[in-house]
Amino acid sequence: MSKPRTLFEKVWDAHVVRALKGEPTLLYIDLHLVHEVTSPQAFEGLRLAHRKVRRTDLTFATIDHNIPTTSDERLVIKDQIAAQQIGTLRKNCEASGIPLFDIGSGRQGIVHVIGPELGLTQPGKTIVCGDSHTSTHGAFGALAFGIGTSEVEHVLATQCVSQSKPRSMRIKVTATLPHGTTSKDLILDIIRRLGTDGGTGYVIEYAGEAMRALTMEERMTVCNMSIECGARAGMIAPDDTTFAYLEGRTFAPKGDAWDKAVSAWRQLATDNGATFDREITIDGDKLEPVVTWGTNPGMSVPVTASIPNPDDARDASERAAMLAALEYMGLTPGTRVEDVTLDRVFIGSCTNGRLEDLRAAAKVMRGHKVHRSVDVLVVPGSEAVKVAAELEGLDRIFKDAGAQWREPGCSMCLGMNPDILAPKQRCASTSNRNFEGRQGRDGRTHLVSPATAAAAAVTGHFIDVRGWEYKS
């Protein structure tokens, strides 16, 4: 009998090219996703060293970070430096033979949305991208993590990454999430418990009944934000939900190859008796909708709570961090979260820009009007998501409510394109980071689920969506 192994160990072991004591392991990469912002210097490095892209068949590119989301500006980008960066990606892909899912191709979108929807993301694969939210793809039982530009160049040249083996952590979520509480609330709760560095050096496997009950899109939201507690990657063992999602997608195996793939994927689950360096159990049925109040994703409270008081901090450094965050956010301790009013709402991003996210937001907004003082932006995660949402009439619901329905991209998650907050504007956002200036200099970001964001858009302030009056 071989030693029981975890999901992570199985995927890791299957990709070891070279492992020597005292050296990082050389790990083979099955899928490399490339975008315009973190790749130009990597291609330039290859050119200077007269090196070639080793596997153009395992490398795919798209444009997502800096494109505008209005249909006019998308075609003629006014920001010359952004336009040059996109032009550079096009040239690099053409010169090296890398497929590019360009604007208008029907396949363009945020890298972490299109990988899964095209069936490129598959169980057991190793996946990298020059973007920290690559952890998203772990929802399929892939080992997926973000890398820097030097590593992008390294993967382009060698199809490998050089990595020290991370430690392993399992987070078991019991029972089922209560009605009105989403996987976004779950991951925000996990990050609050672990802190923004509690996962550093670990790969987290999410398990338990509550995880099994989640759809693929909900699982992606959880794995997506694993990086926000510092984890190298998040993973969930593939199951029938995973296979049902993948079957028939463009790049998924077909026919006999599909059957073979599924039986191999079934072997990936963590063996009974396998051990983790750290284990945590969370009662899924005790969770509530969550709102962040501070300037990192670990600073959050339930929507029914009040803004915390720095006097309750555990130590001097936490107190200092809380004071700085409250000042930046313009908040007073003791204020009820439901009394915090908003200027903007952003629904989208690689965390919550998929079809189910848009459905959840539309369900709340249907028949309501956006509050007069709130400007609402709804940005689908990909061209395919946009088409599917329009087929269902979700765009009409948003537009009838008074929200703006935009073209796909990363948009106001990081504001590299024209979608940014003005100084001191307060935003309920379905994205992943509430760092200072992330959505615009001096902008104030509160991270929430799509349902909570949509409800806030209607009322003009945060509200417990569990009591929402849905209209049909």
Binding site: T149, S150, S317, P423, G437
Partner: protein, 197 residues
């Protein structure tokens, strides 16, 4: 990559935990297609007023720290986005060494790939160095990667731990791609064994 063996330089303190890469290099400066030109934008939202004037209250704008090459800061430095622009900006400003109780994983790799030495030290040591950098500015540290020691001119002398492979690369300024390509036969063998059947 420029090797780093022994380094003597001025220490600048940034008293803050969890400094994310969005602060180190804000997104509006990520659109360049070169590896250079980022130093002027290091910590730009903290360093400059919206109209471009220096903010007097920001540490790196103070006279003693303008030529600092060693940064001492709080835990979990470099968390968040994978943008290597953060390491480029720190390097171009002049930093060669960063001292903190802990670093985020992706940033640690990016730093190592750009000849930037990151050193983890116990919280109390970091605190002590940061206080000296305030009270004795310009405060110098001698960092010796070969001996794995840091020392000041007042008797402080501490050993530090560092990943030995990364140390070897930094000492010799080795390009990781070149090192990996030396194992091209291993990669080719792996590919031959894993060809889809």
């Amino acid at each position: 990559m420029e090797p780093i063996r022994k380094h003597r330089g001025v220490v600048a303190p940034l008293h803050r935990e969890n400094i994310d890469t969005d602060q180190i290099i804000p997104k509006q400066h990520l659109k360049r297609i070169e590896r250079t030109g980022f130093g002027a934008f290091l910590f730009s939202d903290w360093r400059y007023h919206p109209d471009g004037r220096d903010r007097e209250d920001f540490a790196l704008n103070r006279e003693h720290y303008r030529n600092a090459t060693i940064l001492v800061t709080g835990k979990n430095f470099g968390c968040g986005s994978s943008r290597e622009h953060a390491a480029w900006a720190l390097g171009e400003f002049g930093f060669r060494v960063i001292l903190a109780p802990s670093f985020a994983d992706i940033f640690r790799n990016n730093a190592g790939n750009n000849g930037l030495l990151v050193i983890e030290l116990p919280e109390e040591t970091v605190q002590q160095i940061a206080e000296h950098a305030e009270s004795h500015a310009p405060y110098y540290l001698n960092v010796d990667l070969e001996q794995q020691t840091i020392a000041d001119d007042f008797g402080l002398s501490e050993k530090f731990e560092v990943d030995q492979f990364r140390r070897h690369r930094l000492l010799n300024g080795l390009d990781e791609i070149g090192m990996t390509l030396a194992h091209e036969a291993d990669i080719a063998r792996y590919e031959a064994q894993h060809r889809p059947s």
